[in-house]
Structures are given as C-alpha cells and as structure tokens.
C-alpha cells in the first residue's frame, strides 16, 4: 500500500494530525467532524470541571474553582502525547478506546484507502453470517433529521469467504479485529463463532454477537428482544469462542437491563450498546415507504442521547460489565459522554459515512481534550459522572 501522505501540515488540519498539541489543538472539538456539523445541535461547551473516574474518587465533585475540592482540579495541563489512551474492556488490550461500529466500516480496506485502519483501537467488521448474503433490495437508505434509516439486511460474503479474503488482509495490516457474528438461529451463531475461533490468532481479539439487527425477515428473529433467546445465542457463542464475547443489544425493548443481565449470565464478557432503533419514513406524495424493507434502523446523531442513556442505565445496574458504547458519535465530547456514562470503548458508526477520517481525528482530539484538563489516562473517565445537584 502507499505511504500515508500528509500533503498539508497538520496544523492546518484542525482536529487532525499526529503532531499532538499543535496549534490546532484548542479548536479541535469545535472543528471535529465535517461540514455537516454546521447544522448541528451545538454541543455543550466543554466542561470546566474535571471529574476523576474509578480509582480517582469517582462521583465526588463540585464546580471547578480555586476552592473546589475536585479531583483533578489542581492538575496541570499535560502533553497530549503523554496521555494514556489505552483501555482494557473484558481484558482486551486496546491502544485507544475508539472502534468502528459494525456495518459501518465494511471489511476495513475501504477506509484504509484514506488512513491506516490499524490506528483504531479495534475494527469491528460488518456482521458475518454462516452463508453469504446478498441482503435486501434497494432503496436501502433514507436520510432523516440528523440521522439516517438503513435496511441492508446483513449483506456479507459469509464466514468462509471472510476468512479467506478479508481476514488475511486485516492480519497483515496488524488490525485488532472484533468480529461481529450474526445468524438466523442460535446454531448459526455458534458455527460462525467456532469457525472464527479456529483462525483468531492474535488478530481477532473478540467476538461481537449481533443479536439486534433490526433488518431481519421477521421481527421475531431479533434475539435481543427476548432475554431467553438472547441468552441461548450467547451461550452457544461463548462455548465456541476462545476470545471475549460482547453481546450487541437493542434499545427497542421495555427493559434493556433485563436483557443485559440475561446475556451476562449466559457468559457474555461484555456488551455493545446500542444497535440502531427501528424506524420508518414514508414518501408523503406517493405514500410509499422510503425503504424497500418498509422499516429500517435509525442511526446517527439523532440517536445519541438514547444510546448514552442505555449505557448509563446498564452500567449503573451492572458496573462490572464492560461496555462498548455506540450511537451517533461525532465528536470528542460525544466520546467523553459515552465514557462517563460507563463505556470502556466507543464505536463510531454513521459519522464514518460522512468523514472517513473521523476515527483518527477523534483519537487525537481525545488526547488533547484529556491533556488540557490534566487527565493522564482516558480510563479515568469511564463511569465518571457527577451528581445532578452538586453538594
């Protein structure tokens, strides 16, 4: 492959560049993302106060100020290059907490045309099924306010072809892979997990069980809508797998904590929260659904608050269970929200569609964000929320 070429000095690329702490640093958050940001709901200004995480007096804080007894308040600004970005969800060593979201990064090679995908903490590949799938007919997508609906139907080459074609490339590039597994039956999942485990090596660091793809022929096949069904699938995958197993759940349930408990009891090492939300759009003139599949999964910034809520809810109930947070992440501050809500890693999905550089941009921006606040390790932010009413 070609060398990566930065044709313009990184300090002219706001929010992007290995030269951490460059003049672009301070503006990073505001500049993150792409032009579509300009229509965005403006993110909260960066918080001034700093709240440490686990092992740093989590949960006790007040407003920043000379008198405030705040963990971190007396910290000095650090060098972004010195920030420890590593995280260890379920024991997987990731150099940074940013992953792709399944189905938003294809096989990895498509984005590698733009930048080295090994720069991500991990690449979560598009869900792999036992058999090749051609997926649903077009139209598969409809843009919605600050989001989009999709109904792809798990198009993928099947586990055999994925192992033969995609995996060797990922291995050669030194990518840490989280392989997403999907299927029609619990046995399908187990067979795919088994096939992947045989070839995992150092490359496949975890499996993600896609229990929650909304675009299946029958809503009854969304395993994540049922605690016993989810548990059955996870049990089979865990039995076959030799790497940690994350269960990806949907928010389209009455009580996500109940589902989370069931998959953890079935052996899941961690959770990915959340998949897309089931939605619909109708052409007002013709009355026809915008998607060939009628319904589809809603993703993008529109769902971020729902995702943050789910992460917080599950983390509050099951604080020891590692979570990969996912849903509408577009900026560094979005990542920080997910970390504070309890995620140990954060997946970027739809934003990759508009900005193929979003992952390295956010990784660099996260280091600067932490450095400016004197946070030496990003892991300190995990689960670090403050009371609504400071004492």
């Amino acid at each position: 492959m070609s060398d990566e070429v930065r044709m313009i000095p990184s300090d002219q690329l706001p929010g992007w560049g290995r030269k951490r702490g460059g003049p672009a640093g301070a503006a990073a958050d505001a500049e993150l993302g792409h032009a579509a940001d300009r229509g965005r709901d403006h993110d909260q200004p960066d918080e001034v106060r700093v709240v440490g995480g686990r092992g740093a007096g989590a949960g006790h804080t007040g407003p920043a100020g000379p008198d405030a007894e705040v963990v971190g308040a007396t910290r000095r600004v650090l060098d972004p290059g010195d920030i420890d970005l590593s995280v260890r969800p379920a024991g997987i060593e990731l150099p940074n907490p940013i992953t792709s979201a399944s189905g938003c990064f294809a096989s990895g090679a498509e984005i590698d045309r733009f930048h080295d995908v090994a720069d991500l903490g991990a690449v979560v590949v598009k869900s792999i099924t036992l058999e090749p799938r051609q997926g649903l007919p077009a139209p598969r997508m409809a843009e919605t306010p600050s989001g989009m609906l999709n109904a792809i139907g798990l198009q993928n080459p099947g586990v055999e072809a994925w192992i033969a074609k995609d995996l060797p490339w990922l291995r050669e590039r030194g990518v840490r892979v989280i392989a997403s597994v999907a299927g029609r039956t619990a046995d399908d999942f187990a067979q795919v997990a088994s096939a992947l485990s045989e070839v995992a090596g150092d490359t496949i660091v975890a499996l993600e069980v896609n229990l929650s793809c909304p675009n299946v022929e029958d809503r009854g096949l969304v395993f994540a809508c049922s605690a016993p069904d989810s548990a059955e699938v996870v049990r089979g995958v865990v039995r076959a797998a030799q790497v940690p197993v994350f269960a990806k759940l949907t928010s389209d349930v009455t009580d996500i904590v109940e589902i989370a408990r069931s998959v953890v009891a079935a052996g899941a090492d961690g959770l990915t929260l959340i998949n897309t939300l089931l939605g619909m759009a109708i052409d007002p003139e013709t009355g026809r659904p915008e998607l060939a599949n009628t319904y589809g999964g809603l993703s993008g910034p529109a769902i971020r608050p729902v995702a943050v809520r789910n992460v917080h809810q599950v983390h509050s109930a099951l604080p020891e269970v590692p979570i990969i947070g996912c849903g509408g992440v577009r900026t560094v501050t979005d990542v920080v929200q997910f970390l504070r809500a309890g995620a140990s890693a954060v997946a970027i999905g739809t934003t990759t569609f508009v900005d193929p550089f979003i992952a390295p941009r956010v990784v660099d921006g996260l280091a600067r964000w932490c450095a400016e606040r004197g946070i030496a390790a990003v892991s300190e932010l995990i689960g670090a929320t403050a009371p609504v009413h400071p004492r």
């Binding site: 044709m7 002219q12 032009a35 498509e110 733009f114 198009q155 993008g300 193929p356």
Partner: protein
Amino acid sequence: MSRRRGGTVEGRSEGPVHAYCEVIARRREGAYWVLSMAAREIAERAQPGQFVQIAVEGQHTLLRRPFSIARVTRQGASAGTVDVVFDAHGPGTSWLTGVETHDVIDVIGPLGTPFPLPQRKVNCLLVGGGYGIAPLYYLAESLLRRGLRVDMINGAATAERIMGAIEAKRLSASVTFTTEDGTYGSRGRVTDVLDEVVETGHTGLVYACGPNPMLRAVSERCVELGIPVQVAVEERMGCGIGVCFTCVVPIVGRDGATRHKRACVEGPVFNGARVGWDRWGVPGGATAAAGQTAPPVASQAQATPPVASQAQAPPPATPHAGAGQPAAPQARTSRSATSPAPGRADAEEEPGSSATSSSRAEPPASSPPPPRPAQVIVFDELDDEESPRPEDAPGTPPSPPDEG
C-alpha cells in the same frame, strides 16, 4: 461554507482524498448549475465516470451528496479544477446553488470506477440523458485523444435540459439531440434514434449516463444489437466510500448468479449487459449463493410487461448518478417480486425477454432482429466484474489520459 482555507487536503498519495476546495465559479447552464472548484489532487487523480462527495448544509442534513465529475482541468490558467453539474431538487442541492465564488466546500474524491477505455480502435457512441451527458463530455475528450470516433446522442425532456449542445458538437463526429416535447432536436427518446446512429456511426461500443430507465432501455437495445455497453448507474448513496452498502445494484455474474454490487466502489460504471435491471429493487432480486433461494413468488413476471410503471418514468432530465438529495426512487416496479428461480439467473439476460418492455415507446416497434453475439472489447486493465476492482487502478493508462 467552511471557515477552513481552501486547499487543505488529507489522504494518501493515491486514491481518494478529503479536500477543502475553493469555489472558482458557479453558473447556470440551461436548467442546471455548474460548479467549478479548485481541487488539485482530485483533478490529478480523476478519470471520466468517477464522482465526488460534497458535504452540504441543508437543515439537519447529515450525509454528503454525490456528484459526477463533469470536467477536470490539468493545464493552463485553471489547472487543478474540477467541475460538477447538478440540478437543484432537494435540500442538499438547493443549498449548493447558494454557494458563492471563493466559498470553501468540503469534498471527497475521486470515487468509484471510471469508464473503461477500449484498447483497440472502435467507434464509440455516447448516450446521455439530461445532465448525465456531462461526464460523457469528459469521457469524449479521453476517447478523442486515443483517436477514436465519437458519436453522441443527447436527450432530455425539453430544450433547456439539453446540456452543453455546443460542447457536444465540438467533441463528436455527429450528435443527435432528442427532446420528449420536441423543443430541440427530434421529438422522442434517445432509444428512438439509437439504431440509426449506431448504423451511420458504425458503433462498436456504447457508453451511457442518465436516469436508470434510460440506461436500461439503452442497455437492452445494445444487447439486442450485440454491442458492448458501459453505463454509469444511479442508486441512493449513503457514504460513497464503500462502507454503508446502501447503493447496491444487482449484477449478473458469468456464473449466472446475481450479486449486489456497490455503485460507489464496484461502480458506478457497470457493464450494462450485466446489470440485473429486472431485479433491481426487487425482493430476492439478488440470490448469489448456491443453496440460497429466493422467496417463493408468483411468476407473473413472464406474462406482464416488466415495468409498466416506467412508461411514466421520470423524464431523462432526472438526475443521473449522484444528483444530490438521495434521489427519489426511480419509478420502481410495483410488482412485489419477480421470479428469480435459482438457476434461471442467466435467462434474465436473454435479450429476447426485454422486448416486452416496449411500453416505453423505445426500440423498434417491429420485430427486432435476432440478437447478435456481443463483440468482445478488451478494455484497459478491466477486471472481471466478479471481483471488486481496486478503484484506484482500473483503466489507468500509464500516463494521465487528460491533457497529458
């Protein structure tokens, strides 16, 4: 418009880049808009048929909009510029009509597969619908540099939607204009004049760009005539860079199986004879793997004209590949399904089966001549369509074809 200065670029030394591009000019041309931008790296890397993704700022818009590259300039005073042509018909493209000279826009490109260029001498016919002709002018320049004869058919709904009539005359040995209302050229559709132009131009290869119903009609006629045809298709796009799997097109492989290919990385240029036009947007339309069967369906498809609704299809002036706003669904068949029984896939390509589509008032009303076997055209580095083409490479001559 970005606060960033124009010229900022990130990417690798080959392939697509992300660039902030200063707008050099924005003008009307007939019913369309032409936007010229300073995009040196994109201009250097682009080939005819490829497209760019532009970030737009409509209210709550999220996704970029794809635009075919209409021209690149590599030499002279305006070296390093890229032109796109568009029609304002959605929030994204409407926003783009308000972009001023010297504004900076956010662009990714070049993306997608280019039109493959023939290795041997062959007379080429370029068929454009609406502003779908624009990238074909760009292609014509490459073909002319190879010393090939270029004929054109330029069709639209009405005169103001005929794009670049003067350019067409300059670039072609002959150009035939058609408008549906007869306000310019001959009244009718491009397929009404196709046979005649093929005859007089001794056409050996057809390139087409325009709305999908036109591409289908042109492709089916070319198959009947035994002429190779390359088309730049349109399908709703999410990312344009190959990761979202939104823009899939059913492509019939040599093995007879139909597979969903992404228009953004495996297209937008496809062999028109291999596009599963009947299967596009049809449940179960793509059924590749052995043992994977399509849902059972009524086999009415054989008896009924394939797509009656396309008789009222949008006029040729509707957007071609990449017209901005995730395009309105092309008049899709309202049939709920076709009958892609396993093993029958190749039958879909039998030219005879397409004759039933005469409700579209195109090809010859009288019985068509028996199909001839398609001539074989060897293209530069054209890969087998079974495997995704590395989009950086195909068709790339050793030196840049343009103005080199």
